[in-house]
Amino acid sequence: MDRVVEQGIQGVSALAITGEGSLTGGRPAPGGTDRRRRRSTAGWLLFPSLTLVLAGLILPLALMARTSVAHFDAASPDLVGFTLENYARFFGEPFYLMILARTLLVALSCTAICLVLGVPAAFVISRVESRTLKTALILATIIPLLMGNAVRAAGWMVLLADKGLINSALLSAGLIAEPVRILYTGSAVVIGLIAVLLPFMVISLESVFENIGTAYEEAAQTMGAPPWTAFFRVTLPLAMPGVFSGCLLCFVLAMNAYATPVLIGGPSFQMMAPKVFEQAIKVYNWPFAATIALVLMAVTLVLSVASSLALQKRYGVL
């Protein structure tokens, strides 16, 4: 009896499906079948991009982690042994710790200066009333952002050299008697990096100020707050998530800077990213290069996560 009923139900549902199919031009019915089909097409649509990222980035990073614990043998490129000697060398030699400390110091000072200059720039762009001027300012921010570091470093070399524009101008104005050495110093690297990173800060902050809108500021001022009070007590606290993500972006990019320190810092001002290249390509010590790269990534990641956790406690979910 049960069997007959079951067969009957199957027959009816089969009829319903074929009927539905003929009505809508052979496409399967909505519901379970459709969802399953969507899931399988989703798999096929995602497969190529995920393969590219896995093969081109994730597997290579895993191999890099493996290389960093291999024993260095100048004679053979094979990965041999498991050892922590590369990490011990990095954290044992004051020379490398100094490079890490210098990189951190440069990244932190650049982030702080970018914040000080980026807040007014982003605020002005977000509050400018003329559409044309706003578009022009946004383009003037984004074009340098995507210009590439080599071109900008060349510009700073022209400006900061001993016979560069700044020294020539100061000499002819009689403000200095001898050219001031700026290029190939730490300050030149900080100046160069600020120019590279500032557009990122401005763009992150601009959209946040734009979204906050002017209503809160106007309300604060209607209640008698002067512009500065309204800005520091109302607008800036509301913009904290954007301030934080802008700072984080600047910090991470400054930690990993390559072209700027190499070209305008000169050979004596060493930072982490150029050291990775030097160890790999000039010394052929791939295990140690991998170690420096991973230390750089880990330090950046730990500081980013720690600071976002600390800020989350202070300001709630960012």
């Binding site: 762009i125 995507l146 900008r152 106007e218 390559y258 790999a280 990534m297």
Partner: protein, 279 residues
């Protein structure tokens, strides 16, 4: 400070607030734009050794730069790489964006972060890692990939991918799914609905994604550094190698050409897709 001619809202114009804010903004733009202005100016200097003020102005350095094989080769390598990387990133990235924009499903966040990861992993680390990986592949299979066009194309496709995924997803998210459903209800096949309804709506995002992808690939330095080889060097690396020895109006002319290409590309992109939305 009458505020009537200023482009700035009136209520922000008392006291020192506006001058300080505008001053900070001007300082920021001077920091960002002065190196670009300087390099463009120097490219027209007559004197080969850069000194200020110049003895005169000339266009000769552009001709000199175009005649130097290293710049010509670097330029065409970067151009080819940019085109290949953009095409690959569109072919693999647009389908992924179509899935990501469908809405929430388990694992969506993880897949999205994975596809945007090439933007987050530092270029020098990713480049070194890919180089080591390709060397291992070569040791295992005997096929050389590192220091060939293929190796560079893989690296540059990875540079380009996050931009196409991000911009196409952004243009799809605002899309009403009912538009496509309406087309399907009226009897359109899946592909016809995509071609006639979805595609025209996402085209600005795809064009912007492609242009961003191309620019990101064209200017990349760190990721390519390990993968370039003899006869296969990209323009930014040629520029850096040259700058390590000397700076003269010839390299300034090359840099100016790069500035012109990228500015034109971005101004063009802005007409399809408001640039501020890309970040």
């Amino acid at each position: 400070m009458t505020g009537s001619r200023s482009p700035f809202p009136r209520f922000l114009s008392d006291g020192s607030f506006r001058p300080v804010m505008v001053g900070g903004c001007v300082a920021a733009f001077i920091m960002v734009l002065s190196p670009l202005a300087a390099i463009i100016w120097v490219s027209f200097f007559e004197n080969k050794i850069i000194s200020f003020p110049p003895t005169g102005y000339t266009f000769d350095w552009y001709r000199a730069a175009a005649a130097m094989p290293q710049f010509r080769d670097g330029f065409f390598t970067s151009l080819e790489l940019g085109v290949v990387a953009t095409l690959v990133s569109l072919i693999v990235g647009v389908p992924a964006a179509l899935v990501l924009a469908r809405g929430r499903f388990p694992g969506r966040e993880a897949i999205q972060s994975l596809l945007l990861a090439p933007l987050i992993v530092p270029g020098i680390v990713a480049g070194a890692a890919l180089y080591m990986f390709l060397i291992e592949v070569e040791l295992a299979s005997g096929v050389q990939v590192a220091m060939t066009f293929t190796g560079l194309a893989i690296a540059h496709s990875l540079i380009a991918l996050p931009w196409t995924v991000r911009l196409v997803t952004a243009s799809l998210v605002g899309l009403d799914p009912q538009l496509k459903e309406a087309a399907l209800t009226m009897g359109a096949r899946e592909f016809t609905a995509f071609r006639l309804v979805t595609w025209p709506l996402i085209r600005p995002g795809v064009v912007a994604g492609a242009l961003f992808a191309f620019i990101a690939s064209f200017v990349d330095l760190e990721k390519s550094l390990f993968l370039v080889g003899p006869g296969m060097t990209t323009l930014p690396i040629v520029i850096v190698n040259y700058l390590e020895w000397s700076i003269d109006p010839t390299i300034a002319a090359v840099a100016t050409v790069q500035i012109a290409i990228i500015s034109a590309g971005l101004v063009l992109t802005d007409r399809y897709f408001k640039l501020a939305r890309a970040f």
